[in-house]
């Protein structure tokens, strides 16, 4: 029951490719064809140079832990506290908010700059979320 109440993304025309990607097991970013800027969140133009010539590509899914909080209260619907809300810095440059799975939700286990890799969590037939877990090896 609790999981049903978790905030669920609703894709827009500009973000659909990202959510199609996570569903297919890919973390998709966008790169500007004019200035090579890699950016997130999705939009059909480059926020650095305003070019509309941009391409979607499959990112490595690797990154590192940039910062986080461990939320105790109030907990969001669908979450059991304490849980970490993290910002991951992707190897390609952009940062994104995520949760860290397969890892104790403690300051001792969550060390800034630790290497992470994407771990997809299917919420339903339409939405798969990009979580991250400590990188193997």
């Amino acid at each position: 029951m609790a999981e049903a109440a978790r905030a669920k993304p609703k894709p827009t025309p500009e973000t659909q490719h990202f959510w199609d990607g996570t569903k297919a097991g890919e973390l998709r970013l966008q790169r500007c064809d004019a200035c090579a800027n890699v950016y997130f969140p999705p939009r059909p133009f480059c926020p650095s140079c305003a070019s509309r010539k941009v391409s979607v590509f499959k990112a490595s899914g690797k990154g590192k832990l940039y910062s986080y909080v461990i939320n105790h209260r109030p907990a969001a619907p669908g979450f059991t506290p304490p849980y970490a809300i993290a910002v991951v810095e992707l190897d390609e440059g952009p940062r994104m908010m995520s949760n860290i799975v397969d890892c104790p939700q403690t300051p001792e286990a969550l060390v800034l700059d630790m290497k992470l890799e994407v771990a997809f969590e299917k919420l339903d037939d339409k939405i798969t979320l990009p979580n991250f877990r400590p990188a193997k090896g």
Binding site: T12, T15, P41, Y66, R73
Partner: protein
């Protein structure tokens, strides 16, 4: 903008602050407005310019019976009122209006007549932040602080001292919500909210409001209160998504707004007698001290922990007790402005002796927006 061309001639908070179960949000606006009108010795019919945030200008103008020729509904969070002051000063200078009323009110605790705030699932925040468990400011605003601590060597004890020092100021303010002294140990043993922040490092949730009245400096001398002049102003926005800030080591919006105001004012940091830095959470004064250029970021935590901002210290900061101890209705910027005006009038409960220049720096959202106003009582 010309220095000292516009002045604050009326300033007041709501009659009560804290828990106000007998007033809706719109009436809190009116209560603050009527107090400010009385403070300025004006009638409502004298007001020809109006600004507010969250509530629409038409809502509050209709409720009060104001017929404005200039309105501003800029709503960028808690620093909206700093932006209103800046915009109002420009509008008065441009001749669009003569006497501007700015109101803020929020039934933040009692939630009477408060507009709902929700994040649509198809917004960028709804898609790329909300699904990961953010739920209100305590789960979002502190997200950058661990990175800031690592980069600059700031300690948990230093961040706890922010709350301790501000409680010392609050103890001198009869209207502050929390006045009992606290220690660093009390802060570090208080209930965990969102690691690394505990209860005493998070702002209060209260009811209240405030209002300001601005007019040209030429007219200001005919008012009953000592005019408080607008010496310099700045504003900016960055992003509504805390995860998308350019860096967690500083706030881009702070770094634009603050220096703009200093440049416009033509002052150096050593000229500042009194400082307000909007403290929704304990890390904000550190970001503010660094981003406004008072000192290197590495020194900000130690500067506060060493007592430099406490009563009697060399840089009095958040002298009403701040959002951590004075009050925080949700959009605290108006209360920071009120304290700066009190200090410049020389009537603050914790008055800084001989203060002539006050810097009032605000944040909106989670580092999403910023506004800085520099006041002086000398023309």
């Amino acid at each position: 903008m010309r220095r000292n061309a516009v002045a604050v001639v009326g300033a007041a908070e709501t009659t009560e602050l804290g828990v106000i179960p007998n007033m809706s949000q719109i009436q809190l606006h009116a209560d603050a407005a009527l107090n400010a009108i009385a403070d300025a010795g004006l009638k409502l019919s004298d007001i020809d310019g109006f600004a507010t945030a969250v509530e629409s200008p038409q809502q509050v103008c209709h409720y009060l019976g104001i017929k404005p020729t200039w309105v501003d509904g800029t709503s960028v969070g808690g620093c909206s009122f700093m932006l209103h002051v800046r915009h109002a000063a420009a509008a008065i200078e441009a001749g669009l209006c003569k006497t501007v009323l700015i109101t803020h009110a929020e039934s933040g605790k009692s939630m009477i007549g408060k507009l709902p705030r929700s994040i649509p699932a198809d917004s960028l925040q709804g898609q790329f932040e909300a699904p990961f468990g953010v739920y209100g400011p305590p789960s979002m605003f502190p997200i950058p602080v661990l990175r800031f601590m690592k980069t600059y060597g700031v300690t948990h004890e230093q961040l706890a001292s922010v709350a301790v020092v501000q409680r010392e100021w609050a103890a001198k303010n009869p209207r502050a919500s929390m006045k009992d002294p606290i220690t660093v140990a009390d802060v570090l043993n208080s209930r965990m909210i969102a690691y690394p922040f505990r209860l005493l490092q998070c702002c209060l949730v209260t009811d209240g409001g405030g209002a300001l009245i601005l007019t040209s400096a030429d007219r200001a001398k005919d008012f009953p209160r000592k005019p408080v002049y607008i010496l310099g102003t700045g504003e900016s926005v960055e992003t509504p998504m805390v995860s998308q800030m350019e860096t967690f080591n500083s706030s881009r919006a702070f770094k634009v707004a603050g220096p703009l105001a200093f440049k416009e004012a033509g002052i150096a940091h050593k000229d500042v007698d009194h400082l307000m830095i909007y403290d929704a959470f304990a890390h904000l004064p550190l970001y503010g001290l660094g981003d406004l250029g008072f000192m290197p970021y590495e020194e900000t935590g130690k500067f506060i922990a060493d007592g430099n901002t406490r009563p009697g210290g060399k840089l009095p900061l958040n002298t009403n007790g701040g959002g951590l101890s004075y009050m925080h209705s949700g959009m605290y910027g108006m209360y920071a402005l009120q304290e700066s005006v009190r200090q410049m009038r020389g009537i603050a409960p914790a008055q800084v002796n001989d203060a002539k220049i006050s810097v009032c720096h605000g944040v909106g959202g989670m580092f999403a927006a910023s506004g800085t106003i520099i006041f002086t009582n000398e023309k």
